[in-house]
Structures are given as C-alpha cells and as structure tokens.
C-alpha cells in the first residue's frame, strides 16, 4: 500500500474509539487502502458506504443543496462516517458510539484533502 495512504489512515485510526478507516473508490465501492481492526467487514462496508454516498449525493442534488461533505450515521453499537474526497474517492471510518466525532471528522477532512 502507498505510504501516503497508510499515513493518512493511521492518523484517523489513532483517534480513540476508531475501529477502522478505509479509502474507497466511490464509483466501484472497492477498497483502495485500509487500516481495519479484526471483525470489521471491510469489503461490505466499502461497497455499501459507496452505494449510500451515491444515493445521498443524488438526494442532495435533487434538493438543490449541493454536494455532501460529510455523512455521519450513528448506530446503537457504533458510528459510520463517510467523507467524499475529490476524484471520486471516499474516506470511510467505523468507530465506537462514543468516539470523538469532531476529531475524527477533522482527520478525515485532512485525509480527503491530502489524497487529492
């Protein structure tokens, strides 16, 4: 894996509560780079997160409110965050329910910027 990709993912997974981070090709839903804890189904999360992001983008286009910058889904047992990067790439993170979303968001936005 490219060291640049590895570094940006490490910056995200360093935040307490993060269980995994991935760079995903948005159109294909395939993993480009990953740093995941055991038990996180990377392929499934990547494919479904890309599909979700596509739907949200269509919904926001239909509502004429611009492109999504940040998707945050809060579940009972954890959190899924998607940040679209330029060039169709997605930064995806999975974490515990109580993880510091603000800090993760910041790292993910930085990651999106640095891989473009």
């Amino acid at each position: 894996m490219s060291t640049v990709f590895q570094r940006v993912l490490d910056n995200i997974t360093r935040v307490r509560g993060v269980r995994g981070a991935m760079l995903v090709a948005g159109e294909d839903g395939l993993i480009v780079a990953e740093s995941l804890m055991e038990g996180v189904r990377g392929n499934a999360v990547a494919a479904l997160a890309a599909s979700l992001q596509k739907r949200f983008r269509q919904a926001m286009e239909a509502a004429a409110v611009g492109m999504p910058h940040f998707l945050h889904l809060q579940g009972e047992d954890g959190t899924l965050i998607i940040v679209p990067a330029p060039d169709g790439m997605l930064v995806v993170a999975v974490g515990a329910p109580d993880m510091n979303v603000g800090l993760v968001r910041l790292e993910m936005l930085r990651a999106a910027e640095s891989i473009s």
Partner: protein, 156 residues
C-alpha cells in the same frame, strides 16, 4: 417489468434476493458449459443463451490461462465499461460448479455486486437439492414432432 425466471426452481429465491440487493440489471446463473439455470432481466430466451455461451467462454478462457500459469482459477472477473460493468463469478455447489454473469449500471457498483455475489453463492449452496435420478422426458414417439418442428424451422 423485468422478469426473473429459473429453469431450476431452487435457484430462484437466492437469485431474486441478489438482484434486489445488488441492483443488478441482468443476471444469469449457468453451468460452466453455458447451460442457463436461471436469469433475470433478459427478454428473449435465445439472447440468454448467447450471453451464457459468451460468459462461459470468458470464464473457461481465463481458467485455461490460470492453468497454464499454474495458478488457481480466477474466482471473479470484472469488466468495467463507461455505463455498464460486467461481473463474472464462479463458485462450487454440491451439484458442481456454477457461474454467475451480472450486468450492472451506474446505480450499482463492482463492490456491491461482488459483496452480494458472495451471499448469492452461499444461498445457492444452501439451497442445492440432492441429485435427482434421471427420468424419462420425451414420449417414445417424439420423432414425428421433431420432424414437424425442424421442417417448420427450415420452412419445408
């Protein structure tokens, strides 16, 4: 309305679930020899057969290349087009190997198809019935009907 049809009834439920989840436009389940077990989305049976023949040929060719390279067969192939992608995957069932050919559009993705293909393969393995004893199919005097069918086919 696009239709899902199965030659082998046990394949229908896993296939319908796959189509719904993956957003596939067209799906064919077939044997490695290109015989169709089930399909979704094709309008004409003869088009299904052509697609199956070509899909089986691609898998057979790459399998042969893998053999020449002394490698395991490729489990899946993905051809990405501008509008549509084609996914071809192979898997084993208790009744032998099967292939899936999936055509997907911009509302799906290679990742999504790959993800639900794995579920489809698991579903089909679980649904596979025990091998049936071959039984007589045609009436003993089928020749007359065959003669008539072939004569009408050739306009004789």
């Amino acid at each position: 309305m696009t239709e899902t049809r199965a030659v082998e009834a046990w394949t229908l439920e896993p296939l319908e679930r796959f189509v719904a989840e993956s957003g596939a436009r067209l799906t064919l389940l077939m044997t490695p020899a290109g015989q169709v077990l089930a399909q979704h989305g094709f309008m004409r049976a003869v088009d299904v057969m052509s697609a199956a023949a070509l899909g089986a040929a691609i898998v057979a060719s790459t399998g042969e290349i893998a053999r020449m390279l002394d490698q395991h067969e490729f489990a899946a192939l993905n051809h990405q087009g501008v509008q549509h992608g084609i996914f071809l995957g192979a898997f084993d069932t208790p009744r032998g190997g099967l292939l899936a050919l999936v055509v997907y559009g911009p509302d799906s993705s290679a990742g999504l198809v790959q993800l639900f293909f794995e579920e489809l393969a698991r579903g089909l393995v679980a649904a596979t019935p025990a091998e049936e004893q071959p039984k007589a199919v045609l009436a003993a005097n089928f020749e007359e009907e065959l003669d008539r069918s072939l004569a009408s086919l050739f306009g004789r």
